[in-house]
């Protein structure tokens, strides 16, 4: 087997960069630290591409499918005799693919940030955090065992927390970062419990052992059941809960729109392309277990994904903050990926959904990063997030305009752009397994096209807004990544994923299903047309449509009041009805009991103090009476 030992540097280099920038950042010049971070990432991007080439086209794997290669592994912590947490590097099709995705997007974002964040206070801190994030995310995808994944899972959560709260003097950013961390933390609790249950039953954390269809995970599948479902199903559902939180699926999606308070490059990197797909990656990583021993859990995945995609698409149609629209769109697209995994089977052509999901993950990373970076360029130009403040920007921002259009067409699924291919595979997979979900996804495809073009038309066409400063095109450090990603969005659709990334590592045949593709393109075109009608020129139509769906619009505009429910649960239930009573109980019952014991002792001693009157004659009287009585007692009674 080819030697992949050098891959250890892929996560390690960003970590060293983080330490360097974090500890000595304020001593370096801001520009130098930015360049250092970018250079470090460029190196590992090259390494990752090299690894991908070597892994996929090295020529040794093609015969029997792609094997899982443990390039590096070391024991980090011994737990029980059998359980130990390792740190290592596992290379298989999806992890190699993720390496490519992460390093590409991350590098783009680094370059972009050099321009976008120029002059910001804390420039070097920003790059330190980006390096920390890159390290954590790379560590996550190459994890050799589920506990390593959990470790890096937490680390990406923290880097996300730090980056959302980058503008720490802004109260809304602080709130958003707190919310993101706590919501995902709650989901991670499920993940951890899932890991505990899983490891208790299988006595291993190791992915290779776990996902080996002849391994212990599968021999346990028929063992103890709880509430009608097998233990494995429960553990998978719990583990999926972690994925739901990180990937902002319903009902743990509330943090993602708020997370847009962070700097835009961060949104592009973390909250669009890489971290939020960690949930999808987690399910894909554990896929054999899901598919073969816990089909119920897989159904949960499918339905959660489908519901979230529809839910988010509806909300996206009503929002006006461009980054929030994109955030809901991200949620919707990830719902697609989840659904694809949920309807997939294991092995061969059955694993179409799996392949489609990974394919979509890949293409989505490109076009969504492009969208966010484009949005960043727009915000950079007009200093506003709200699309009602924009209009007719195509004249001022030609490059941004073109790349943004490409991205919109891609996400809408217009051939021959990449989004078309990946979405088509997902729809095909859904069609073969569940007609209801298939129908939902068609609807979502139409909605997606509609809201994306609503965004596009409102920003670049529509009314000619008067700006205080004439908007100008972003510097080349920002436009170059846009162009590269636009190229990526166009060409990645032609990558033969069915030969590279499959559920069991073996390639299978798949072709375009015209029965699925043609209607989906039509639906998308319909959505685009509808958006054109409403938003290409300023007219009263949008308000009329909104009036038509009166209550529906209001609910969707307010995000179906999920945030309010959360605020109720945290502020009211946890603070008012749990914590405050507990704090009260502690002070006024537990502590008061202790104080009561003390004050009782004091009272009693005050009472018996009178015996010690200080009057010698009283003492003498007591002494003599006592002596006489004792004498009588001993002489006459005890003798």
């Amino acid at each position: 087997m080819t030697n992949f030992g050098y891959t250890i540097w892929i996560p390690l280099l960003p970590f060293l960069m983080f330490l360097l920038l974090g500890l000595a950042g304020n001593k370096l010049k801001a520009k130098l630290s930015g360049l250092l971070g970018t250079a470090g990432l460029a190196v590992i991007t090259i390494l990752s591409y090299f690894t991908a080439y070597k892994y996929f086209f090295g020529g040794e794997n093609a015969e029997e499918g792609f094997q899982k290669i443990q390039a590096f592994n070391t024991v980090w912590l011994n737990l029980t005799d059998k359980l130990h947490i390792d740190l290592g590097i596992l290379l298989d099709p999806i992890s190699v693919m993720m390496l490519v995705v992460i390093t590409t997007v991350s590098l783009m974002v680094h370059i972009y940030s050099l321009g976008y964040m120029k002059g910001e206070k804390g420039f070097e801190r920003f790059f330190a955090f980006l390096s920390l994030f890159s390290f954590s995310m790379l560590g996550l995808v190459v994890a050799t065992n589920i506990f390593q994944m959990y470790i890096f899972w937490e680390l990406v959560g923290v880097s996300s927390f730090l980056l959302i709260g980058f503008y720490y003097t802004k109260p809304s950013a602080v709130r958003a970062s707190k919310k993101a961390f706590i919501v995902t933390r709650f989901a991670d609790l499920g993940f951890l419990i899932g890991i505990l249950i899983l490891s208790f039953n299988t006595k291993t954390f190791d992915f290779i052992t776990l996902t080996d269809p002849s391994g212990p995970a599968f021999s346990q599948s028929t063992s103890a059941a709880f509430m009608g479902l097998s233990v494995m199903t429960w553990s998978m559902i719990f583990i999926f809960m972690g994925g739901v939180g990180k990937s902002a699926m319903f009902p743990f999606h509330v943090w993602l729109p708020d997370a847009m308070e962070g700097p835009t490059p961060v949104s592009a990197l973390i909250h669009a392309a890489t971290m939020v797909v960690a949930g999808v990656y987690l399910v894909a990583r554990m896929f054999p277990i899901f598919s073969l021993t816990a089909p119920v859990a897989l159904h949960v995945v499918a339905y959660v994904g489908a519901f979230s995609s529809l839910f988010a698409a509806i909300i996206a149609c009503t929002q006006t903050d461009i980054k929030r629209v994109l955030a809901y769109s991200t949620m919707s697209q990830i719902g697609y990926m989840m659904l694809a995994l949920g309807v997939s089977g294991y092995g061969g052509h059955e694993g179409l959904g799996y392949m489609a999901s990974m394919f979509h993950l890949f293409t989505h990373a490109m076009f969504k990063a492009l969208l966010f970076l484009g949005a960043g360029a727009i915000i950079h130009a007009v200093h506003s997030n709200d699309m009602t403040d924009m209009g007719g920007l195509r004249k001022y921002l030609p490059i941004t305009h073109m790349t943004f259009l490409i991205a919109c067409l891609t996400i809408a699924g217009i051939p021959p752009l990449s989004g078309f291919f990946s979405k088509d595979e997902i729809l095909a997979a859904a069609l073969h397994s569940n007609k209801l979900l298939f129908a939902v996804e068609y609807l979502v495809a139409g909605l997606t096209a509609f809201y994306m073009f609503r965004l596009y038309f409102s920003i670049f066409w529509g009314k000619d807004t008067h700006y205080h400063h004439t908007p100008h095109e972003a510097p080349f450090t920002m436009t170059i990544p846009l162009m590269i990603l636009a190229v990526g969005s166009i060409v990645t659709g032609f990558i033969p994923f069915n030969e590279l990334v499959t559920s069991d590592g073996k390639p299978f045949e798949s072709e375009l299903e015209l029965m699925v593709a043609i209607p989906s393109v039509l639906v998308a075109l319909f959505g685009i047309g509808f958006a054109y009608l409403l938003y290409f020129k300023t007219n009263g139509l949008p308000d009329k449509v909104a009036g038509f769906f009166k209550y529906g619009y209001k609910w969707a505009y307010n995000k179906f009041y999920i945030d309010e429910v959360y605020i109720f649960v945290t502020k009211q239930v946890i603070f008012r009805y749990i914590s405050t009573p507990i704090a009260w109980f502690d002070r006024h019952v537990v502590d008061a009991t202790m104080n009561l014991i003390a004050s009782t002792t004091q009272n009693v001693s005050f009472r018996i103090r009178d015996f010690q009157s200080g009057q010698i004659q009283k003492y003498a009287f007591v002494f003599i009476t006592g002596a006489v009585m004792l004498a009588i007692l001993f002489i006459y009674f005890l003798n």
Partner: protein
């Protein structure tokens, strides 16, 4: 009845009567006088018991020394004509009860007990024997208590002087006052 029985009855009556008077009289100087009578009568008892040396000590030290000391202190601290207010009725009753109970218990016990008379010949207690006893380390020798008591006497002498010496905290106070 022999003469010494009369003598005993006389001393006994004096002791009992004057003891009781000592603790009940309401004039302090009288109490001291009655105490003197008790101590003198006691020394009479010592003569009867053939302990002449001790009787002499009793007379000189107790009657002559301590009582005088007490009278001096009375003169220093009290008005001679002053009558004590009588102690509280409850206090009297309870104290009397306790004392009477103790006395009765002791007397009953004494009467119950059968003292066997001894036939051993009495030892002559003369000054020679006493002197030897004090300064001997043999059996019947008391040199250690003798030494201890001499230290004690010295200590109490110094102590009495120090305590009674005018001054102490009060003096410090006055000097500071003067300085101001």
């Amino acid at each position: 009845m022999t003469a010494n029985q009369y003598m005993f009855i006389l001393f006994a009556l004096m002791i009992i009567v004057f003891s009781v008077l000592t603790v009940t009289t309401r004039k302090i100087l009288r109490a001291a006088t009655f105490l003197l009578f008790v101590l003198v009568s006691t020394s009479g008892l010592y003569f009867m018991l053939n302990y002449q040396f001790l009787a002499a000590i009793q007379l000189s030290l107790y009657a002559g020394g301590i009582v005088v000391l007490i009278i001096f202190s009375i003169l220093l601290t009290s008005h001679i004509s002053q009558k004590f207010e009588s102690p509280g009725f409850k206090k009297v009753i309870f104290s009397a009860l306790a004392s009477a109970a103790g006395a009765i218990l002791a007397i009953v016990t004494i009467l119950d007990y059968n003292f066997s008379a001894t036939t051993i010949a009495a030892k002559e207690v003369n000054m020679n024997a006493i002197g030897k006893g004090f300064l001997s380390v043999d059996y019947d020798g008391y040199v250690l208590p003798f030494e201890v008591i001499s230290i004690l006497l010295l200590a109490s002498m110094i102590g009495a002087i120090v305590i009674a010496k005018k001054g102490g905290p009060a003096k410090v106070q006055t000097t500071t006052l003067n300085k101001e």
